[in-house]
């Protein structure tokens, strides 16, 4: 975060309001997009709004770097009476990540929607996209447990329909969206239930106040169940291992913009909230430790192994990437479950790395989809010859996913391994190693087919995607490469986040 300390990107009056503007900007932008006369205008609104949100997020990051924690009381009512935004280094990092991906997605949507969404639906689609962005940003910033539910729903309700819009390409998007809705709503309801139990025990909804009051409470079955329901509910949204059933279908079926945005942000935001609850709200004690080392860690390990294997046996590229996402969530949660500064930092670093590479991968698949209706790995035979630039970006993302040196993925895996070694958890190191090996298999298979095989004869010829699609794609892939060489920025952010959570710098 040190890099942000000297960053004054907005006038002081604006910086003071930046936390809320990050959220309100996209909300208002969504209205403007819905009102705009055509898809082109809506796209411009979308880009401008996302850029504004990113600008404000940078301003917030600068402020957080200087102040440590920002509190923003909404409506002028101090918490616990009112709702407050509370942003620490972790929140600022997440907001930067979400807003950056949001900008990339908005840029990308200009061309991507043309091939995937009917013209008359584009304004509403952009509006839904911005609502989703606003939802995730609100989720990241809010300091109120119930407000988090509201933003969870803001980001979800529109998204269900956005996923379903993918029916134009593949009708399986519809049942996938439906099951996403069922899972998502059950998750959100479980979360509300958990918050209800915590509220019953503490009488407050503000997370800081809740944490203070929980610390003075003894062992209470309502509190324990509250934690269980909160984590289970968020676990559904985060696609934590046994609760990930909705994810492969949804990611595979959605329009590529939505897949890319969800893969890069949705599960991350939910993981963020889990971290928030486990480390900030719940009192330190046996219960949390038992939860981390006996429930979270084994489930994460199971996700890494089982879903990587599933990805290997999957035949459709999008579904491979989707299963890989569940496995990668497992990697992140393994880091978190160590509960050490190094582990948390590694988890955060991995989270950022995964967001960038999965974003690039799904975007590249979308770039191919501009010209061909390819689904299975075989369909992509030799696509590197027909669309070299998109394929190169896909290659970079895939390399990062597999953990090839000089990519961000490599550093992320490396820091996870060293954190696990430091904590003395050898079995986690073993799981990481096996997981990486399995990742290498399915990544290798995709790359082999794309780069070293001849195109299937008689199939439609792919064309290179337009510049509007390639530019954001290259930014994401480029970031994966750049941070693989010089990781100062993400590493310092991850370290600051970890120390904001557990108090000590690694």
């Amino acid at each position: 975060m040190i890099l942000f300390e000297a960053l004054y990107v907005a006038p002081p009056a604006l910086t003071a309001q930046a936390p809320i503007l990050v959220i309100a900007g996209p909300l208002i932008g969504a209205c403007a997009a819905a009102l705009s006369p055509g898809g082109r205008t809506a796209w411009m609104v979308s880009v401008l709004t996302a850029a504004f949100a990113l600008w404000m997020a940078v301003a917030v990051a600068g402020e957080v770097a200087r102040e440590g924690v920002i509190d923003y009381a909404l409506g002028g009512f101090a918490p616990p009476m009112g709702i407050a935004l509370r942003i620490d280094a972790l929140g600022a990092t997440m907001a930067l990540l979400v807003a950056s991906i949001g900008v990339m997605g908005a840029l990308y949507s200009g061309h991507a929607l043309e091939s995937e969404v009917k013209a008359e639906k584009r304004t509403l689609f952009q509006s839904g996209y911005l609502l989703c962005l606003a939802g995730f940003l609100g989720l990241v910033f809010t300091g109120d447990a119930f407000n988090a539910f509201v933003f969870l729903e803001v980001s979800s309700i529109g998204t269900y329909a956005l996923v379903a819009v993918g029916e134009a390409r593949d009708r399986r998007a519809l049942p996938a969206a439906f099951s996403y809705l069922i899972f998502g709503t059950v998750g959100a309801t479980l979360y509300v239930l958990g918050v209800g139990f915590l509220y019953a025990a503490t009488g407050t909804l503000n997370m800081v106040d809740m944490a203070m009051r929980l610390a003075t409470l003894g062992d209470n079955s309502a509190v324990q169940a509250g934690l269980a329901f909160v984590v289970a509910g968020l676990g559904v949204k985060a696609a934590m291992f046994p609760l990930h059933g909705w994810l492969p279908g949804a990611y595979a079926g959605a329009p590529s913009l939505v897949s890319m945005f969800l893969a890069a942000t949705a599960t991350k935001a939910a993981i963020y909230l889990i971290i928030r609850f486990v480390f900030d709200v719940f009192p330190e004690g046996e219960f949390g430790e038992v939860f981390l080392s006996w429930i979270l860690a084994p489930l994460a390990a199971a996700a890494v192994i089982i879903c990587s294997v599933q990805a290997i046996f999957e035949n459709e590229v999008r579904r491979i990437l989707a299963f890989s996402s569940v496995a990668q969530v497992g990697f992140i949660l393994l880091g978190v479950s160590l509960a050490t500064p190094a582990g948390l930092s590694a988890g955060m670093f991995y989270l950022v790395a995964h967001a960038l590479m999965k974003g690039a991968l799904f975007m590249a698949v979308g770039a191919f989809a501009v010209s061909v209706r390819a689904r299975t790995v075989e369909d992509f035979s030799g696509i590197a010859r027909e669309a070299p630039w998109s394929a190169a970006a896909f290659g970079v993302g895939a390399a990062s996913l597999a953990g090839v040196p000089l990519t961000m993925g490599f550093l992320a895996k490396w820091s996870l391994v060293s954190a696990a070694l430091q904590a003395g958890e050898i079995w986690i190191v073993a799981v990481l190693a096996i997981g990486s090996l399995l990742t290498l298999i399915y990544v290798g298979r995709m790359l082999e087919v794309m780069f070293f095989r001849a195109p299937v004869r008689g199939a439609e010829r792919a064309r290179e995607a337009p510049v509007g699609v390639l530019a954001p794609l290259f930014v994401l892939a480029g970031l994966s490469l750049w941070f693989g060489v010089d990781a100062t920025l993400p590493a310092s952010m991850a370290n600051a986040s970890a120390s904001a959570l557990v108090g000590a710098a690694p």
Partner: protein
């Protein structure tokens, strides 16, 4: 007192939650699933509202302290109780859960309508709303996946 009596409301909410979840997971019919989901969501309302009830309380719309209405309400209760837990001579129930549940109800109807609209589109695309049949068609779809000529 017995937990079954003192926590009766919560237990009823729990039973309804279980019914809702059961409906949700035991049927393949998408519409019925949405009904189960709605039931499940509503039961959290029961839970929250029960939390906010104060015995002897009244709705959280402030009454002037010396109005006949306020006096009539206070007369129903032990003066010491009113003194301790009342606000301005009247005991009110807790308004916060009501606000939260207003939000939750609205979210519920939003989810219901979006879910049903997706179900309608599923019917148009697959000719059925039974999950089993949809899966069968989807398997055929997956097998036929390919880069068309």
């Amino acid at each position: 007192m017995n937990v079954a009596v003192t926590h009766f409301n919560y237990l009823a909410a729990v039973v309804l939650m279980m019914i809702g979840l059961y409906v949700l997971f035991s049927t393949g019919n998408l519409i019925k699933r949405m009904i189960g989901l709605a039931l499940f969501q509503t039961s959290t309302a029961l839970f929250y509202i029960s939390l906010g009830k104060v015995s002897g309380g009244t709705a959280a719309i402030r009454i002037y302290a010396d109005s006949p209405e306020a006096r009539a309400l206070a007369a129903q209760l032990d003066p010491a109780y009113v003194q301790q837990f009342g606000v301005g001579g009247v005991v009110y129930s807790n308004p916060l859960p009501h606000v939260l549940i207003l939000t939750a109800i609205v979210v519920g109807v939003a989810t219901l309508s979006v879910g049903l609209s997706i179900a309608v589109r599923i019917r148009e695309a697959y000719g059925t709303v039974e999950a089993g049949e949809i899966e069968a068609v989807a398997r055929v779809d997956a097998a036929g996946a390919g880069r068309g000529p």
